[in-house]
Symmetry: C2
Subunit: 203 residues, 2 copies
């Protein structure tokens, strides 16, 4: 069986060096590098934790290290070892190459738009409402609501921090999107709480 046929036979035509097809996470890491800084794996993790986190899950340290190796092998990034100055251990820092820039630009421009991946644990549990007491359902929703509000606030704070910096115009735009997204998520939880109330009244 084909199972979600998404062909694309990775062909090795003639002698041309074949561009490897990278998963989205690689592009995310290369994207972080595309802003031009020379960064270590640790830096990248930290940065992705507070930027990508709003709309894209932040990969673990170990995966970032792995992706960096892959990107370097593909010629999309180069690295050098930084000698241990006072107060640091030696470490490897990465910088995007010209080919990397070309590749990530191409990816951002040409990749087909595909649906976001969502794994909404709270909704999964509410879908199984026949297994929970209404009280528990409310608890789940309230906690989710609080999470959403917390995220919204963070996005607001970050937007204010980046205000006016034209270099960060697009990241700022996605932060504004995040602000609205988490506001909506919060309101949707409230609406669902109301729906449950309603269901309880006239069964």
């Amino acid at each position: 069986m084909a199972e979600e046929t998404a062909g694309e036979t990775a062909n090795e035509t003639a002698g041309e060096a074949q561009k490897p097809t990278l998963p989205a996470t690689s592009w995310a890491v290369l994207g972080l590098l595309s802003f031009g800084e020379e960064l270590s794996g640790y830096d990248l993790k930290k940065w992705s934790d507070w930027s990508l986190r709003f709309f894209y899950w932040s990969p673990s340290f170990s995966q970032i290290y792995g992706e960096l190796k892959r990107l370097e092998k593909a010629g999309y990034a180069s690295s050098r070892l930084v000698a241990p100055e006072s107060g640091t251990r030696d470490k490897r820092v990465y910088r995007i190459t010209d080919e990397g820039m070309t590749a990530v630009r191409e990816w951002a421009r040409e990749t087909p738009v595909d649906p976001p991946v969502l794994k909404h644990g709270p909704m999964l549990r509410l879908w199984l409402g026949h297994l929970l007491e209404p009280e528990k359902m409310r608890e789940v929703l309230v906690q989710h609501q609080e999470f959403a509000e917390k995220m919204r606030r963070r996005a607001v704070a970050d937007v204010e921090g980046a205000q006016g910096e034209t270099a960060w115009a697009y990241p700022t735009l996605t932060l504004k999107w995040a602000e609205r997204y988490y506001a909506s998520e919060r309101d949707l939880a409230a609406a669902m709480l109301a729906d449950i109330e309603e269901l309880g009244k006239r069964p």
Copy 2:
């Protein structure tokens, strides 16, 4: 390094048979079975494709088969082979056990609420706006908008289908949530399109 410390040393205390800690996907599959039907892997995939899909990614066939084996080994589901009647090949069908019911109920009630996992490809690309022409950005957003509207419509259609069936009260509730969620997603894309327009006018 501890890397996202989330301890929980899976201890094998004394002689008591230890409940295995299952990942969310297992619970999703067991949740499908918790409605009481006797179902094959294929059935489950189909059903999850049109129900869970709105708020939880639908696992592949092969993963569902794997989860079923695991659930059976854990004693949460039992299976039997159905002989090939006319027009069918022989197949294995699964049914939830009493222990499975207890376990999934316990999970739904007691598991800590954790944040949804989101991998929003379109936003990732817009975050990298410095790599795209505004025209391309608009294209991405419009396509995402169309996807969201399509999903919203499907949710609406499904809500209508399930109307009134009290057995499906909670699944229906989550469909209503999905309707609003995808409406919001669509509107957020529209708002972002406006923001980009704005950015273009006065740089």
